[in-house]
């Protein structure tokens, strides 16, 4: 039996046994439901999120005040007016929350702490323009001439090209980093538990009588890894379908290139950490020790994540160095590529280091695995396991 067939057998078992498990089906179903829920719930609330503003009116104010403010506020608010016989009554209304602002014909706009700043500005502006219109009319100026008078002026123009949307790309790359982080945490612990399970129920001795340790390791990482990627894809596809059904999907410009790089680094990063988690699992004999064994890895992962999250605004020296180191690169390099900060040689070097290190890790982990798997009892140190397999 050749190596590839052995790896495929192991991978297929790890994949299908998990797919068939009730726990996996439930957790996948729940996650999909949660994601759909997260997308749908805010839009249900949003449809009714427009503000209701009331203007308290005392005395003779220009007609059409409420209507003009309402029009000016657009979709953000519905505006109506309530008339009060006196200023005192109006202020009582403002305090009780019946109205949000008072317009006193005597020439005052009365507000309190709860008055929306936007409303205040709107009311003041509308009053001023109504006043100008009134005075213009009194002077015999025609309304259309007035509109012409105010037209012209300046237009806003952006000098950033649309394809140069760096912030959007960075945000997208950071999103990919979060997905990678979550995937490694989730599926890394599946791998960790899977390895320890095989060790605690001793099946590993029978399995290793037929396949080499690095084949078992590679098969396990592939089986669980492919399952993990499939689950992430399923959730992603469902999210995209739901989002596009409600026309809420905004894909950043130039996402294609960023997406491709994000995928490449996702695969590399996942492979690197998955192999490391498998090796960590082979060092311990009991599930309770799993988190201890994986602690150095979790720490590295957190560090990489923090470097990435503090660098979302842009390039910095820590990010630059981190993006070259294999354990940090998968979570930091995509950000730099998206931001347009990574030099070609840096990307090439980082990729090369990543691939070489992962391959080295597979060989090394294979040995740790071989040394660790047949030991039961106390937790092995990395170095002891390495030596055990050597001799």
């Amino acid at each position: 039996m050749n190596a590839w067939k052995a790896i495929r057998l192991v991978a297929a078992r790890d994949f299908w046994e998990r797919v068939a498990s009730r726990a996996f089906q439930l957790s996948t179903g729940l996650t999909v439901l949660l994601v759909v829920g997260f997308i749908l719930v805010p839009t249900f609330i949003d449809t009714d999120s427009a503000e209701d503003w009331s203007i308290g009116v005392v005395g003779e104010v220009p007609s059409g005040l409420a209507g003009t403010v309402d029009a000016a506020a657009g979709d953000a608010a519905r505006v109506d007016a309530i008339s009060y016989p006196s200023r005192v009554d109006a202020e009582a209304g403002l305090e009780s929350g019946e109205v949000d602002i008072i317009v006193d014909a005597g020439g005052k706009i009365v507000v309190d702490n709860s008055t929306d700043q936007q409303l205040t500005t709107l009311v003041a502006t509308v009053l001023a323009s109504l006043d100008i219109s009134q005075q213009a009319a009194d002077l015999g100026v025609d309304a259309s001439a007035l509109t012409e008078l105010f037209a012209g002026g300046f237009e806003v123009e952006s000098i950033s090209g649309e394809a140069d949307n760096r912030d959007g790309d960075r945000a997208f790359a950071f999103f990919a980093t979060i997905v990678l982080f979550m995937s490694i945490i989730t599926y890394g612990s599946w791998i960790l538990i899977g390895v320890i399970e095989e060790k605690t129920n001793r099946v590993v001795e029978v399995v290793l009588g037929t396949v080499r340790p690095h084949q078992l390791l590679t098969g396990k990482v592939l089986g669980i890894g492919i399952l993990g990627v499939a689950q992430v894809l399923l959730i992603g596809v469902v999210a995209i379908i739901v989002l596009s059904l409600q026309d809420a999907l905004e894909i950043p410009e130039a996402a294609g290139k960023v997406l491709l790089w994000a995928f490449v680094w996702y695969v590399l990063g996942f492979a690197f950490y998955a192999v490391a988690y498998a090796a960590a699992g082979s060092l311990v004999s009991r599930q309770e020790e799993a988190q201890n064994a994986a602690f150095p890895l979790t720490l590295m992962l957190m560090a990489a994540y923090f470097v990435a999250s503090f660098s979302i605004a842009g390039e910095n020296p820590v990010l630059r160095i981190a993006s070259l180191l294999p354990m940090f690169a998968p979570m930091t390099m995509p950000l730099r590529i998206a931001g347009g900060d990574a030099l070609v040689w840096e990307i090439a070097l980082s990729l090369a280091l990543m691939v070489v290190t992962t391959y080295g890790l597979v060989r090394l982990a294979g040995r740790v695995y071989a040394g660790g798997l047949l030991q039961s009892g106390s937790r092995l140190k990395w170095r002891e396991a390495f030596r055990a397999s050597e001799s």
Partner: protein, 296 residues
């Protein structure tokens, strides 16, 4: 033929194997004996490359064992292990495929073995739902599915009930008769004595005794003399007070003697007490030979 050739292995200061050598031919059923910690498991693991010896070699048909040769072997480790939550049939088929069988072959062999073990109706049960004895049967089937030419079993009888022991014996004998080399370790020496023509005994990582059970027994310098004679305990006790008495009841006495003790005077002495109905002079059993050579 399996050849274990001068295997040595140390773990730090502990010597696990110290030049251990023996052979198992095809068709042979070999009992591999030794006290706890004498190196039996380490030796068996070496066959499957689970342990790399410091020196020495394991050969099959005069060649170093390659990975593909090893797929034709069957192994039942001392600490049993299968996937508890995997279904019985798919689990067996998986192990068959790991041993290089094509999928349909493995599935067919699984059906055959489940049929034979009377577990066909449990094919879709998870392993953990089976009784302990049935899990052991599945473990054995996992080692046998691919019809191995060498079968290595570490303590196959431990934890089995009498029916399980009988089933196991039948299967091992049948495999050996079918031409497989079979080697197993056990602490149940009476059982080994009945089952095997040949045994190897190791102590402290070295083979201390090897050969046909009969020959090993008669090489001992001790013999047991069992006499059935119509005489009370008091008479027997008085008459044989000068010899080493092992057991004594009314009409029956067992003596432990050197192997060169002349028997004629003893027959005469017994006859003087009454009518002798049985007079048997036998070498010690395997259990005692074992204790003699490992010094316990």
């Amino acid at each position: 033929m399996l050849e274990i050739d001068r295997l040595s292995k140390r773990y730090g200061d502990v010597v696990a194997l110290d030049g251990c050598s023996f052979r198992v031919a095809r068709g042979q059923l070999l009992g591999f004996l030794g006290p706890n910690g004498s190196g039996k498991t380490t030796t068996m693991r070496s066959v499957f490359s689970l342990v790399r010896p410091d020196s020495g070699e394991v050969r099959w048909n005069n060649e170093r064992i390659s990975a593909s040769t090893r797929l034709g072997f069957g192994y039942m480790p001392e600490q049993r292990g299968l996937y508890p939550r995997m279904k019985v049939a798919s689990q067996l088929a998986y192990f068959g495929q790991l041993h290089g069988m094509a999928k349909d072959q493995a599935v067919a062999a699984t059906t055959e073995w489940l049929e034979r073990l009377g577990l066909r109706d449990r094919a879709d049960s998870r392993l953990e739902e089976l009784s302990h004895g049935n899990q052991q049967r599945i473990q054995l089937a996992a080692a046998l599915l691919h019809n191995p030419e060498l079968l290595v079993l570490d303590e196959p009888f431990s934890g089995l009930d009498p029916i399980g022991v009988q089933d196991m014996i039948e299967i091992l004998v049948e495999r050996a008769e079918a031409g497989a080399a079979v080697v197993f370790s056990s602490h149940q020496l009476d059982l080994v004595e009945d089952l095997c023509e040949d045994v190897v005994i190791i102590a402290s990582g070295k083979v201390v005794l090897a050969g046909p059970v009969r020959a090993l027994r008669s090489r001992s310098h001790h013999r047991y003399l069992e006499i059935e004679v119509a005489a009370p305990v008091s008479g027997l006790d008085r008459e044989f007070a000068d010899l080493e008495v092992v057991t004594i009841t009314d009409g029956r006495i067992t003596l432990r003697l050197d192997d060169d003790t002349p028997l004629e005077p003893l027959i005469r002495r017994a006859s003087a007490l009454g009518k002798v109905q049985e007079f048997s002079f036998t070498p010690p059993n395997l259990s005692e030979v074992f204790r003699e050579v490992v010094g316990q």
